[in-house]
Amino acid sequence: MSANDRAGRTATILCNCSGIISGQIAWDQVQDHLAEHPSRPLFRVDDLACGQDNLEALAEWLRAEQPARVVVAACSPREHLETFRGMMRKAGLNPYLLQMVNVREQVSWVTPDPAEATEKAERLVRGALERVQLHTPLAERSVPVQTRVAVIGAGPAGMQAALTLARAGREVVLIERESFLGGLPVRFEELFPHLECGPCLLEPLMGDILHGALSERIRLLDLSEVAQVKGAFGNYILSVQRRPRYVTEQCIGCMECSAACPGRRPDPWNTRGELAAIQVPFSGALPSIPHIDAASCLHLQGGTCDACVQACPVEGAITLDQAPERLEVEVGAIILATGALEKEGVPAAFAGLPDTLSAYAMERLLASNGPTEGRIETPEGRPPASVAIVQCAGSLDPAEAAYCSGTCCQAALKYEHMLHQKEPALPVTRLVREQVAPGLDAAHLAAHGSVPVRYAGPSDLSVEGAGDSRLIRVTSTGATVPAELIVLCRPIVPGAGTPAAAHTFEVGTTPEGFLAPRHGLSAPCTSLRMGIYLAGSARGPGDLREAFASGTAAAGLALSDLVEGRDLAISPERAEVRETDCSGCQTCLPVCPYSALTWDADLRVARVADLLCMSCGTCVAACPSGAITGHGFTRDMLRHELEGVLA
């Protein structure tokens, strides 16, 4: 064949898939019927086109034939599009001059009648032959990535992720909405399953974040929340809102200011008692610099009080005129570790009752830096005559939380154990619907002979009497449990911070409101958005082991996806506005799910930011002027494909 005859032909590779396809589809018939097709197909039947040797041979054949375009009729493009694009590159052809036809999954396997299968295959190959005539070479581009990583939430999972990244030499921005590090468990005196002290477990991590070699790579933005996210994997821009602390790092932590402060607020950390307006949340909180609560500070509420400034021995440590800051942070990837909380409120049987604590409040009551310095007292300050711990108080209940939170049983066993140690004579009873204490090392928690009282569901419990003669009655069994102090282990829910993060970072949530993983089993730390990873109980209730493991995992994912010096390939199959055709109607702007379309007010045209475009084509379909080209899926390509399959 002369070079001239060859020019402009469409190489058409028909795969037998080792008989799977050719058993149903008569390729010779397809070739006969399409031989005169205007695309001038140049057929080649291959027994297994994806086989390594066959790919080499096909690439060589293509290199020799130099066709204008290529069609491969084989298996699903979901499986082998990239394989055959690789073949195109090897043959020196632009990979986008290729169209695949899925004749295995969508013809031979689903069409029992060989004649019908052959007819269908012919139709689909004709569609591809016509479509591919409109394919144009597309240039693959790559952009450098920002290797810095943002970690949102400085609980155990976030701290672990930040330190893992810093150890790999990465710069990290750690963004925490509170004034202190450590999340929930830094406030817990002891941790199940080994009854280790919470702050002691976390202090080395907090120390590494605040001082020492690794701290040089970790920028902590406390009292901060991300207000806006722009960009995409490799190049995110976070706009961070930072509330003032009103106390600088010159502070020596003497707490003279708190002693002098006349402002008062309810103590949200201890859930009872009061704090001064300038105070650390609890002793041992790090950084150990107090913070002023603007709502209760007499000065910041417009008064003239400066008692703290007067009391402070370090000049300039307290700055009452500090303003909120808005910071821009550029990162390549993001780890969300915003945690979970106990659900607020109480089940109906306990509504309005005094001396009722959440599990969190119990943790603080047991803590030596808590409201009673660890003494077991009712909120009125009396030692209780009995304690009842109600587990599953809202869990396993479709009206509250249909799931098992998985950590409360061990927490309740921990409270029972700690109460026995503190007050051996104090009667403590656990009420359970189900008891779950999985893991190699959890069994010993129940080893002190603890026997729970079972109940059937939320309506099975009622409370009778008051004070030291108060009891909980289990209707179904008639059992009664002395209950002067009642601890309710409430379901673990996303709290406020996790849904806020889901909204800002536009990652999906589970029906329960936790951050949705890409896959619950195989990708539990990957979000639905490229370059955003998940760690800790923001993904659903979990213990510390899971928080640490998932923090490490999320950091590992960020490290392997975002590599120094490895540029990010941008798919050329993206949307592009032909400015001459754009009527300036702005229909496309709100339909883009990625805010990739921007408005040029001077020229009155829309533009696509190609880093942000994810190639869904929604704007292409929405544009009334047809001014947006969806490369790889243009209007004309789809029209021609339709013509081919309908011919």
């Binding site: 031979s108 689903v110 009648d113 299968a117 269908k120 799910p593 869904c616 084509g617 339709l642």
Partner: protein, 149 residues
């Protein structure tokens, strides 16, 4: 290869000439569901020609009208379930456009039963087989009624 599906099971023998049915499938859910129907060797109507798009949101109403113009007996748009769209909300756009089309096409003399919008997840190969079958069966009923007139 001998197919595991017996021809009797499909009930689609001797139907010349074949109806022409186009189905726009999004790459991530419905196309994956159709592929799964393949791996599970479920019978899919041979009349169906699948056009792969990245997202159901890519399919503009004019393309569907053009398919009818070019001779399609039926057109389907199959999307990810609400909340599952790979691009967050393309399927919601597709749903709104489908609602519009359902009201528009009778005005153009096209039986509304010749268009169908539905959701197919990557796992729903059975549903894919079932709705494509019932859609094509519906189209052949329409054809028979028209022929009887």
């Amino acid at each position: 290869m001998t197919s595991v599906i017996s021809p009797e099971a499909t009930g689609s023998i001797a139907r010349p000439p074949m109806l022409k049915v186009v189905a726009f499938l999004c790459n991530w859910c419905s196309y994956a569901g159709a592929d799964k129907a393949g791996t599970n060797q479920l019978a899919i109507p041979p009349e169906l020609s699948v056009v792969r798009v990245m997202c159901s949101g890519r399919v503009e109403p004019t393309l569907i009208l053009e398919a009818f113009q070019k001779g399609a007996d039926g057109v389907m748009v199959l999307a990810c379930h609400p909340g599952d769209c790979h691009y967050k909300e393309g399927n919601l756009r597709a749903f709104c456009r489908a609602e519009l089309l359902e009201r528009l096409i009778p005005q153009l003399g096209v039986d509304p039963l010749r268009f169908r919008f539905d959701y197919i997840s990557a796992a729903e190969s059975d549903k894919f087989a079932q709705i494509t079958r019932s859609f094509v069966d519906g189209l052949s009923r329409i054809q028979k009624t028209a022929a009887a007139r």
